[in-house]
């Protein structure tokens, strides 16, 4: 995304069928719309009532989206799932997102599927449950824990709990890394207090101002946080 100029983005949006649907230039069976997202019926449904939730802004994949937008998508997906259960007398729903061609993503525009389900409807979407050895579990855990801490470190929850988890993760490795992680912790704490300060400031300002800052934030966030791999993901989608 970062390497794309506004002109290029505009060209992409003009070619993207889902951007055209979101802006109303192409007709679709729209079931919900707000300022951020639009919900339409999938023309190739897994079951009748299959809904696609599409962002109005053009994102290739979900990792490009800021937290407030992914959160909003989650809330609306939950509410629409409830609507399907009430409206279609179905027995369940699947919420499905694919990031990347390998995961089954076909369009170059982020979307979330809400699929109505009935018993024995042969839609599939079964996730296998495989046995895994203790060693493999621990190996994957320590790698993933580092990866998750790296990305979520800045926005981690209550300090006490994060400390507990870090202690746990240290058990298998221990040694030199302890000091490193302690430094990281301090950094996190510092950032925490900064965040709190800025938050209390925004609370004091008027509502109108809040809206402005939040929209600014959403524009700034992806630029700050998106790692270089996002371009790789975009490339995988054939961009």
């Amino acid at each position: 995304m970062e390497g794309i100029t506004p002109e290029q983005l505009e060209a992409i949006q003009q070619q993207c069928i889902f951007c055209q649907i979101a802006s109303g230039k192409v007709a679709a069976k729209k079931v919900y719309e707000d300022d951020q997202i639009i919900a339409i019926l999938d023309i190739n449904p897994a079951n009748p009532g299959h809904i696609l939730l599409i962002t109005k802004k053009h994102y290739f994949v979900m990792p490009q989206m800021p937290d407030d937008e992914t959160g909003h998508v989650g809330i609306i997906a939950k509410q629409l799932s409830h609507v399907l259960l009430k409206a279609l007398k179905i027995e369940g729903t699947n919420i499905f997102v694919a990031n990347g061609v390998t995961a089954g993503q076909r369009a170059q525009h982020f979307m979330l599927h809400i699929i109505p389900r009935m018993d024995k409807d042969k839609v599939g979407l079964e996730i296998p449950q495989r046995e895994i050895s203790k060693e493999d579990f621990e190996k994957i855990y320590s790698a993933m824990k580092k990866g998750v801490d790296k990305i979520l470190g800045k926005t981690n929850g209550p300090k006490k709990e994060t400390e507990e988890i870090i202690e746990e993760a240290e058990e298998p490795t221990a040694g030199n890394e302890e000091t490193e992680e302690q430094e990281n912790k301090e950094e996190i704490e510092e950032e925490h207090t900064e965040e709190k300060k800025t938050k209390s400031k925004t609370v004091k300002t008027k509502k109108a101002k809040k809206e402005k800052t939040s929209s600014k934030k959403s524009k700034e966030k992806p630029a700050k946080k998106s790692p270089s791999s996002l371009d790789d993901i975009a490339r995988l989608l054939g961009v």
Binding site: D34, P48, M62, G71, I127, M144, I165, S229
Partner: protein, 173 residues
């Protein structure tokens, strides 16, 4: 009633992230290498019972953790899936947002065969859904009384159908 997910949170096994509302953990029976569960910390069996604030957190964190999968595991894709109800494949009595890292030829088939519907069938679905979308987009706010009163009434109406699904799920091992 024991819940494997609640137990895993309690025993702190494979916990990758947690805050006061949500937790992310490595699946003990994974569908793929690095399969992760993002869950509400409270025992909530079905998606619709998760408060707006919590589901928003689950999605935002799941997205970040999915990014960590790309970087850490070197995968080419991720799927985010919620199986809501037994016909949708739900195995646990605790609602889970699955993050499934994907690699080429990993043997997973998480795609469906599209159905061909007539224009009439599509329109019927559209009308039925639209009749019920009045409440969509109204985000629950904490400590906002008038909204709460309306919501409790609504929940009462839905209880009958939802209880059935919860009962079904409680039968799960």
């Amino acid at each position: 009633m024991t819940c494997e997910i609640c137990d895993q949170i309690k025993n702190k096994k494979g916990i990758l992230y947690q805050d006061e509302n949500i937790a992310a953990m490595l699946a003990q029976k994974p569908g793929a290498v690095g399969h992760i569960y993002v869950v509400p910390k409270k025992h909530i069996p079905i998606l619709e019972k998760i408060p707006d604030k919590v589901i928003a957190q689950m999605f935002a964190k799941a997205n970040k953790i999915s990014m960590a999968c790309f970087e850490t595991l070197g995968v080419q894709g991720t799927n985010l899936i919620i199986q809501n109800g037994m016909p949708a494949g739900q195995h646990h009595s605790h609602c889970i947002l699955h993050i499934i890292p994907r690699k080429e030829n990993d043997g997973l088939n998480l795609l469906w065969t599209p159905k061909q519907l007539t224009e009439e069938e599509m329109s019927t679905a559209e009308i039925k859904i639209k009749e019920n979308t009045g409440q969509v987009g109204i985000i629950e706010k904490e400590k906002e009384k008038p909204v709460e009163i309306k919501k409790t009434e609504e929940i009462k109406e839905d209880k009958a159908e939802e209880d059935l699904r919860i009962k079904e799920l409680e039968r799960l091992p």
